[in-house]
Amino acid sequence: MTEVPRPPLLPPTRAEYCVIACAEAWRDAGEILASPMGLIPSVGARLARLTFAPDLLLTDGEALVVRPDGTAEGWLPYRQHLALVTGGRRHVMMGASQIDRFGNQNISCIGDWERPKRQLLGVRGAPVNTLNNPTSYWVPRHSRRVFVEKVDMVCGVGYDHAGDARYHRIPRVVSDLGVFDFATPDHAMRLASLHPGVTVEQVREATAFDLVVPGDVPQTREPTADELRLIREVVDPANLRAREVGA
């Protein structure tokens, strides 16, 4: 039998580094529900499920728990989903219209809540998520309008508002520029890794608060060849990820 040689892989795109950075949020998570909101986090969760986090549970975005190929393996209507949140067996990655230095997140409105300049979605489940299960965030366009000094409405609870909340944890924030965490003495946001091609200056320029930057900032890890093939051929063959984060 002769093996057909596969064409050499093109180098990873920025969107693919973002997929890897999101997928890593669920490494070693065990048998819990991964709740990605947004396209790249969804690609990341499915990639994690197919590779290093095979015990993850995934949903179809409605009421079914599904295998990566779409086969139903469970029923999770909203009422059970909300119960699962409070049981803690879930790691959600939400979006953020605004996020601040201590990880407070806003998806409700811009401006004064009484009469907003721009009404957005509403608090949704951010208050319950952040007090009950690990909550990470995904920001496809890192800018000073998103990474703000102070959010206009605290929906997702940040470290400075969490008090002694026993199940509060924000494992990571992923943007198109890098990965961020709160592993600092006062839980202020820290630059944890840069996507290849991005500089510290670029990130500082796009962030409206004083970001903690360690002396030596690592780069977001490379996808393996196997991961790249899975992303490109199995999980997102239509390359929808490129629409969320361009080259």
Binding site: Y78, R115, K117, R118, Q119, L120, V123, V128, L131, H161
Partner: protein, 278 residues
Amino acid sequence: MSDKTMTADEVVSRLHSGMTLGIGGWGSRRKPMALVRALLRSGLTDLTVVSYGGPDVGMLAAAGRIRRLVAAFATLDSIPLEPHYRAARERGAFELMEVDEAMFMWGLRAAANRLPFLPVRAGIGSDVMRVNPGLGTVTSPYDDGETFVAMPALRLDAALVHVNRADRLGNGQYLGPDPYFDDLFCEAADTAYLSCERIVDTAELTKDAAPQSLLIKRHTVTGVVEAPNGAHFTSCAPDYGRDEAVQKTYATTPWPQFAARFLGGDEQAYQSAIREGS
């Protein structure tokens, strides 16, 4: 046993301005839109609306019928932000009690269980507490001593929900993947009105469907309305999916024009108007 069938207009004739109305479904999914359209045809106003918001909230807000809204969000799902809700909020058209979607559920559960509140681990630390200064907290009387939000009961004067099938007595059946919270809305309400795609004989309900699809029990239901396509343009799986074309027209047309084109007549006129294409 009483036959509870009535028309959508009869439902509305039993409601009053100033009432607290719970509306079932979620976002742009299985909303009792035929009942909402009947509300829009009536003069009812000054309403407190309690909803996992979708176009029900958008339309009632655009038409100026809402005095106060209790919600965690408003969305059209495939169109993330509800444009008419946004516009109404940005012009300060109504009062808002903005709570988390789990707090909302526990508020309905408290009402259904005749409790004044239920403790919930949500809200504390967030600005939900700032914008709802009336929300109280409660501390566990046990060793843990944790403090929770005491989510007040969301008691409803009336609930409006839409399901796939029902009998004339008010037994309601959903055939899609998610019951949402429609049974809870009915249990939390003094009166509940159930519209459905088709009224069938009681025996017909479980002929081809499992008994756990019988979501709504007749003791919680006041009136039953047969309203084919009654969730349109929201989804009503498996009978039909969301009508994305009409939803897009709704989202991109100024409200007065949309209302004039689609909501000027009765339900039959609406159903003809949407068949003529968007």
